[in-house]
Amino acid sequence: MDLKEDKTISEVRTNLALDIEMAKDEGKKVVGLMCSYFPVEMVLAADAIPVGLCGTTEEPISAAEEVLPADQCPMVKATYGRAVGNTCPLFPLADCIIGETTCDGRKKMYELLAREKPMHVMDLPQKPEEKEAQEHWTAEVRKLKLFIEEQLDTVITEENLKRAIRQVNTTRALLTEIHRCRKHHPVPIMGLDLVGLTTASGYCVDRNDYTKRLTVLLEELKRRIREKEFACSPDRPRILWTGLGNSLGCDKVLKLVEDCGGVVVCQEGCGGITRLEDPVDEAKDPIQALAERYLRVTCSCMTPNTQRFKDIDRLITQYQIDGVIDLTWQFCHTFNIESYRVGELVKEKHGLPFLHIVTDFSQSDVGQLRVRIEGFLEQITLGRRDESYGCTQAWEGL
């Protein structure tokens, strides 16, 4: 099995759109989602198809900039652009869409997005460690259920919710095992390939397809470890990826890091391993369990976001990390400010090289990114010099 995702994000989305159109002809409904805070199980329990509509490419942005300010997160612009720019084959297929009050940019953009499709915005509390936050979020999850039932003219039973929870937990468990294969030194798969394959696998109508594809990928990775078929040399600096920029489409920087000689062995945060290792509790009341699990997502819109720091701290050790890269999209104030504390943790507690990158989806700054990434990698590779090595001794041999 070739561990490469050949299709571009555009092709993946177009293929999915064709599959969804066929499913719609058979009476299926489609719910568009924006974010990791959304309990996708709710859509599955309604026997509908969940589709991620978050913008991750440059193409839709110019349409968005006719309405939104240019000084705005590229993800916010691209998401809006997908809705209004006629560049996205999936957006028109959604019967309704769900957003959350995560960051300021999204919150205000959703007001405009709501003109395009029936939309419900969940009120996400910003201090999840408070007891009241959990109560409020649970109430929001109940409201969500009512919205979906009304929009799709259906009833979501407790049984269906429990089944959906088990189904998604199975996917989480498989993905966790896949990600954990990269604890191995050297790794069996490059970071870019893993992100491409896992993103593309998730773009399907039938969840059983998703599970099958992941199972095949996992078996292949295990085989490669057994037969010592590794993706790169053991000398390559092992990088922990934190922040954003983790999926097929907006992988510009991840690709550059691996082109310059690093290998991303672990991703924290959205699209990464941390909430995959965190299943929904199958023993609890399903609404309560969903509300609890989804409030644990570690986006920087939350404060003080303690869990993110615990995760980074633990992953650095577990994955034998040589350096940490923190990616922030331009105009994302929360991740930008939070990067300071991430840098403290990496540099002061772990004594490791840390690179904070701020960029957007365009290709215009690739040269500038390259010198920073190369410099960062040189901190790792040229900083490994044997302290005892002395120039003068070696001269004698010449």
Binding site: K347, P353, F354, D365, Q368, V371, R372, E374, G375, E378, Q379, L382, G383, R385, E387, Y389, C391, A394, W395, L398
Partner: protein, 271 residues
């Protein structure tokens, strides 16, 4: 300062070639600390500039290409240098070059033609952290080049000239293009040229100084790059940061190429 020696035909020599946006530099070092260097304008073709400055340095050292055991290329034009053995960023090279001259160096402030950077150096000479500005000409050599033209003086004189200022002007614009307009207006309103020059140096110092504060400064601190030859900027930076730069006793413009040469030597010897 490294002592200059003449190369014998069989002596091994190591080359560092730094092709920047405005100037190309080459430094040659050897076991005995021999060192020759050459500096020239890069022009439009970085690969040709790299080869030419390399040959110029060899001529100065009376050495042949066959003496050169290993070469490292660096700088903005490093990717186009097809003849070097290895390519390393100017970040690492500046750290290594400064550290080579003084192992107590822990911070390097580099202002070049089109960018400025602050680099933290480990005790072993490797880089521990860095911060760069390469998105905007403000605070770089290009800014000063344009301002010298607006003041109708030579870039090389700008520094000395500003020392006679009694009251530096306040330059409000950050953008190079708008600052140039501001300079023209100040001249028209009778402001003294030396005061304007001193004000411009303060602008550069503030911009680069703020970057340095973000990264954190640790002594010894050195100032390198072409702009380090400008005594006005040097003084303004020392004032703004409330520090004194350590002296490297070497042309500040060649520190990157020197670091590249040191890395070349090290790489060759460890193989």
């Amino acid at each position: 300062m490294l002592p200059m020696q003449e190369t014998k035909a069989e002596s091994p020599v190591f080359a560092g070639i730094d092709v920047g946006s405005l100037t190309a530099k080459c430094v040659l070092i050897s076991k005995n600390g021999m060192h020759a260097y050459a500096v020239m304008d890069t022009g439009a073709k970085p690969d040709k500039a790299g080869e030419t400055v390399f040959v110029q340095a060899l001529d100065k050292a009376s050495a042949e290409k066959s003496n050169v055991r290993y070469s490292v290329g660096t700088g903005y034009g490093r990717i186009s240098l097809s003849f070097v053995d290895r390519v390393v960023t100017e970040l690492t090279c500046h750290a290594r070059g400064a550290h080579f001259l003084d192992p107590a160096v822990r911070t390097v402030i580099d202002i070049g033609g089109q960018d400025s950077k602050v680099i933290r150096v480990n005790p072993d000479g490797s880089m521990s952290d860095f911060i760069m500005n390469d998105k905007c000409a403000a605070g770089t050599g290009r800014f000063l080049q344009i301002m010298a033209r607006a003041l109708e003086t030579e870039l090389e004189n700008l520094g000395e000239f500003s020392l006679t200022s009694s009251q530096p002007s306040r330059i409000n614009s950050i953008c190079t293009v708008f600052a140039e307009s501001e300079v023209v207006s100040l001249l028209a309103s009778g402001e003294k040229m030396e005061n304007i020059a001193a004000g411009l140096h303060r602008s550069v110092a503030k911009r680069v100084g703020n970057m340095a504060k973000r990264l954190g400064l640790q002594k010894k601190i050195v100032f390198v790059g072409g702009v380090a030859k400008n005594i006005g900027v040097r003084n303004a930076l020392e004032d703004y940061l409330e520090i004194r730069f350590a002296s490297l006793d070497q042309d500040p413009q060649i520190i990157g190429a020197l670091g590249a040469a040191v890395l070349a030597r090290e790489r060759y010897l460890s193989a």
